[in-house]
Symmetry: C2
Subunit: 235 residues, 2 copies
């Protein structure tokens, strides 16, 4: 039996639509609110340290980010941050949870083209309700065979999701802007990994590209994806 | 074709293990921290109002609960709450996210007995990572055919999950402590709904029992469930 590619999985944030820009806008506002207490570079370091420390408790997403901002605000002010600043952080969090969805270039046409050829699914991390909201508002929902919101992107999770919704990781491709989460663990699971860089990527998602992986590809944007998929399906 | 029961779905929090008690312990600590600013009854009302107001943004779970506590603390103190109190609320949140799992009576034996007869799945709301942690720590994971963490429990969601993991809602039962989330929408989806009350139930989960529903059952605890399932599968 010919074991060709049958399933294309895509990351969502900063692969299908803008996301990191809203985190960075919020961080500028955060820096501005705390400018009397910490310089922006130092504040960013402390926030990143809090996010990293809290990841095992909070997981990914806006709610954990807001909790980490509040924690950092208390920390850098030696517990003197005034309550109205905390209230503003809560407000920015709620704003992030209703930011409008703006698709990245070529996304709609690419997904529509792929959906006629292969099973197209979304595999994303983040807060459950927020990711569902974004899928709903993207207008792409009906083109997806399945949407899986996961707590982490590991080889085991890719194998499990692609067994459930496809023909296994070996016959699937994962496409996304994060080498660390979208590409490397998918290659480790035995599938194809396609890196589509976004100019803004969260520091905790950075990783060096694989040095020797036959199933690794990189594309400047999603417009080249249907061609790559067609080529892989022919071989 | 005989359309008998093939799938039993169970709620997790306060159906398989204690949960609400940790929320209530945290709320006592919250009331204690703010005792100079609000009487406990008034504070509880304000917190519940915040939780209700934020549900559409945050969804269910501990992270949103902590954010609502912080918001309420700012509100009842006219933005004078000191930062160390906010820091304590963050600490209690992280404690909740690592509270030990204590199974309710009869849970292990019931699930083990059912798993030999029907497909047993879990359908739960809450924070993704936290619910996964609790499933893992429960020691029950291997007995479940599937675990679905959902953002809301509606008839449409029950139909979708039970189509995916079973033979549809008509051949499935949902068992849980919440009439509002576990029983009523499952009856509306065409399945069986079994109420197993827990002595602590969150105010937002309360609802009157159905007055006329052939597929509604109530059990004092889970020990009667294998017998009920066997009876329904014979008829």
């Amino acid at each position: 039996m010919h074991k060709s590619l049958t399933t294309v999985a895509l990351d969502a944030d900063d692969t299908l639509w803008h996301n990191e820009r809203f985190f960075q806008l919020t961080q500028s506002r955060f820096a501005d609110l705390l400018r009397d207490h910490a310089d922006p570079g130092h504040l960013a370091d402390r926030l990143l340290a809090a996010e990293r420390r809290n990841l095992g408790h909070y997981g990914y997403g806006v709610k954990g980010f807001v909790l980490s901002m509040i924690e950092t605000a208390i920390e850098v002010t030696d517990a003197r941050v005034p309550a109205p600043v905390i209230a503003e952080l809560l407000d920015t969090g709620r704003e992030m949870l209703r930011h409008p969805i703006e698709l990245l270039p070529h996304v709609h046409d690419t997904i529509a083209a792929l959906a006629g050829e292969v099973r197209v699914i979304v595999i994303t991390k983040g807060d459950l309700l927020d990711q569902e909201r974004k899928i709903a508002q993207s207008g792409l929902g009906e083109l997806f065979h399945a949407v899986e919101i996961v707590s982490e992107k590991t080889p085991a999770i890719y194998r499990e999701v692609l067994r459930r919704h496809g023909d296994g990781a070996e016959r699937a491709m994962m496409v996304g802007n994060s080498l660390r989460s979208d590409v490397l663990p998918m290659l480790a699971a035995g599938g194809w990994g396609v890196h589509v860089p976004h100019d803004l990527t969260w520091a905790l998602e950075e990783a060096p590209p694989p040095s020797d992986a036959a199933r690794f590809h990189a594309l400047p944007d999603l417009s080249g994806l249907p061609g790559l998929v067609a080529e892989l399906r022919r071989t």
